[in-house]
Symmetry: C3
Subunit: 363 residues, 3 copies
């Protein structure tokens, strides 16, 4: 559960709305005789306590407002109209996009937590003399920053991060504990990387090596790097391999969940988002604003255009040019039913032939 | 292969059976003129040497008893009756559940190994002044224990573990090398976590951010935490994300294999076990005593009842209330056969129509 | 993009070809009046600059030769004949296998980079008194080498690697940052392991524990180890579990990509290669020279023979003895089309019955 701010650290409601909203998203507080509350935290309609703010983004939850104990609730003007409540037990904040306002408020509370963490370079960090760390960057215990690596202003590295030789992290980044960047990996500004993510491991490339034993392989050393744009988030234990000769490229605003595998020379367009456990084979190119559902797989050397949406668990094995949603998932069933029907799959082509024969005969 | 205990450390057979079995599982040693052996290790029927104990849990392996060189073998009374061997070349231990007795013996040998590891707090560990580490906890090299974190009595942290601010590990836990707990993650007692597991990374939540570029996202900072019950085991490189506002919850006795992904706000009921590579999307609720096969995928916002068993590789995309086994896997075939039949899948609905037309005509 | 060598470090073309090719692969430089270039790097036909070498391995790219600015290009004698270019703007290297020559050259450039990294044992490494580290091994910052572990000559450990008690790494190995070996894990010579890989975590084994709560499990402690052969490569965040009683075994020359899961007691034959995200359940045995496509899944306790090739995304649920290619992937479609056809899957068995009835009637 979220930790509440100490009362003396808690902003007033208008102070919070102003501080949390640098984007100019509309918001107004409905007038009331009550004094302005101080807001110590953020919760759901049912869990928020009397010093927290909540929000109604999903109209189906409107019934929960009756039990809401929050100090303030964000509503659309339309919902507020429909409520016809003269004096609700909470302060009402009107906003055309309560879900976006919730996102901004949650960011504010998390930023507040992060700003209270230790700053500076922990004495146990191992930083090469030729590395460049911005004066206001924070480097956690046991970090290793190798020759020629750079860490930008405002960036924070959790414990045990490794920045390989010549790699760089831009400004205002956040690398959680235990992130590994090999050499030749470059991150833009405001990039968030979660624990256990590995950027720049060797792509999987081997040439048959006939001079050796039958079946043996010669490694193709991977000489390319990884380029990651601005405002990217990379999930825990996700891996992004370095390119063979050119770079693997992640566009601006891309969001990758946990345990995603991005193979060498893949290119991902701006603002594309992928849920967990997606695997993308080598040299595949993905457009902008795509969404890829969890555990989807993309074959290598294919192209997905912009605005392509892949359902979870789907294997995309060929180019997809047309925007839209694509699916290929075996529907689950009770085991016995599945067994009965799956056994027929291996005869489908035969069944079609038999059907054709009947049709011919029938004419 | 298992390492044998030094002869002087090896317990006698009755001593071992007593020490390994705190649960009162029945066991008795069949009388014999031979002196009681000392037991230096545990092996399978074919690999156990003359100072090791073995067991017969699978009746199909009974034929291997003839070649068994072990010092002692655990059998059911029924098997022993059926053997009619007057003087087998090994000591016979009778037990109604040899497989469970094997589990207990294996635990004993592993505990013995662990008890001989270095104890105390390694000088390279970085422990915040406000953290609370129980006097008999063991903290490995390069661990980082942040502000307000707690480590319970008898708990052991391997090298390089990170316990985030305010997080806690209960009593008698075992975190292998390189486990990462973010802030706000709480583990019960007797929890085992394997290397590379990450608990408490941000759930994958974004709101469309129309004020920015087309397709851009605003991060929804994840303010919830993770709650893990007692007697839980979490596999290597598994990730359990923190909740958005409430906590992600793992029940008592849950067993998670490697490379499992548990998204934010998931709840897993007591004693549910999941094989490797399972992915569970956000807010899904799983009942008690379920088993989820390897590489199965569960969609978000669905509910699985108690005692639901999902086959490996199956995508569960809707609620499952009824206990039982559920499957949805594409049967594999030689590539050419698969190709021939898979091509017909895209015409199934048409084929059904054509069949209906024939049936109508036929009447 | 690859970093170019400084001009004074760059070898001449014949020097490079000789140094990079210890295997005796044929190569000859076509005579020319121009002086021999020094080669500072390696690039693709379109990206290589005037101090780099390139290669033509895929005949479909032959058209790119016209724009190639490289200092030298590796061609087959056949391609060179067909070009009929008297004086190409680059030096021509003739080789019967340009792709293999490219692999060898890339290895040379990467070896050159590695040889310039820091050598020796970093003072922050924690090495047990009873561990044996070869004099010319390199141990990075924050590595932990436990009791009785051994690191062979010429082996390099990146930052934060952990070598568990009694484990061993052979000669000329390369463990990138953050590799974890539990106790009882043995690697052969020339093994490469990428960041975040975990070898030797407990296999997933539990016995029902009826004396406790309904559904509870007793852990089967995993007493076996892991054996890895020579010339193996293991990808980032891949996990290979220790055996229950015997060892998990990875043969010589095996290549495993990222995020692969190898469960306990699996055995993988020589020179088998697996793409990312493959999962292999316990006790499965895989032959030599197999290839397993990305995200394929193999059930437990099955056997795959030699030279079996599994397509990506395929679930292999039974023994496969015959060499060949095997596939089982649900073909993707536009969502609406998939929905229409997938709905019929649950009636396949019925459809077959109805077809039979018509056929009977038709006779």
């Amino acid at each position: 559960m979220p930790v509440l701010l100490a009362p003396e650290q808690a902003p007033t409601l208008p102070g919070l709305l102003q501080a949390a909203n640098p984007t100019g998203l509309d918001s107004s507080i409905v007038e009331s005789d009550e004094p302005m509350p101080r807001i110590r935290g953020l919760g759901s309609l049912l869990s928020a306590g009397p010093s927290e703010i909540s929000f109604l983004a999903n109209p189906r939850l409107q019934g929960q407002l009756a039990q809401c104990r929050a100090a303030a609730v964000i509503l659309t003007p339309e919902t507020w109209q429909s409520l016809k409540a003269d004096r609700p037990p909470f302060r009402v904040v009107l906003c055309s996009q309560p879900y976006l306002m919730y996102a901004l408020l949650a960011q504010w509370f998390d930023r507040h937590r992060i700003q209270n963490l230790a700053k500076g370079i922990h004495p146990s960090a191992v930083i090469a003399a030729s590395a460049q760390v911005a004066p206001d960057a924070s480097i956690g215990p046991n970090c290793v920053i190798e020759d020629g690596a750079r860490v930008g202003p405002g960036t924070r590295l959790g414990p045990g991060c490794i920045i390989g030789a010549g790699s760089s992290v831009g400004a205002d980044g956040l690398l959680h504990a235990g992130v590994t960047l090999y050499h030749g990996v470059h991150l833009g500004d405001r990039v968030i990387v979660h624990s256990g993510a590995v950027l720049g491991a060797d792509g999987f490339g081997f040439a048959p090596y006939p001079g050796s034993e039958p079946g043996a392989w010669a490694k193709i050393a991977q000489l390319g790097g990884v380029q990651v744009g601005n405002d990217v988030e990379i999930g825990a234990n996700t891996t992004i391999d370095r390119g063979a000769l050119e770079d693997t490229v992640i566009g601006n605003g891309v969001k990758l969940d946990n345990q995603i595998m991005v193979a060498h020379n893949v290119r991902i367009g701006d603002h594309t988002a992928m849920a967990a456990c997606v695997g993308i084979a080598g040299s595949t190119v993905i457009g902008a604003r795509c969404t890829i559902g969890g555990a989807a797989m993309l074959s290598g050397h294919i192209v997905l255009g912009d605005d392509v949406h892949v359902s979870g668990g789907t294997a995309i094995t060929a180019n997809v040019e047309k925007p839209g949603r694509y699916t290929g998932v075996y529907p689950f069933d009770e085991h016995v039913g599945w067994q009965r029907n799956a056994a027929v799959l291996g005869q489908l082509s035969q069944l079609r032939k038999r059907l054709r024969a009947l049709e011919k005969h029938d004419k």
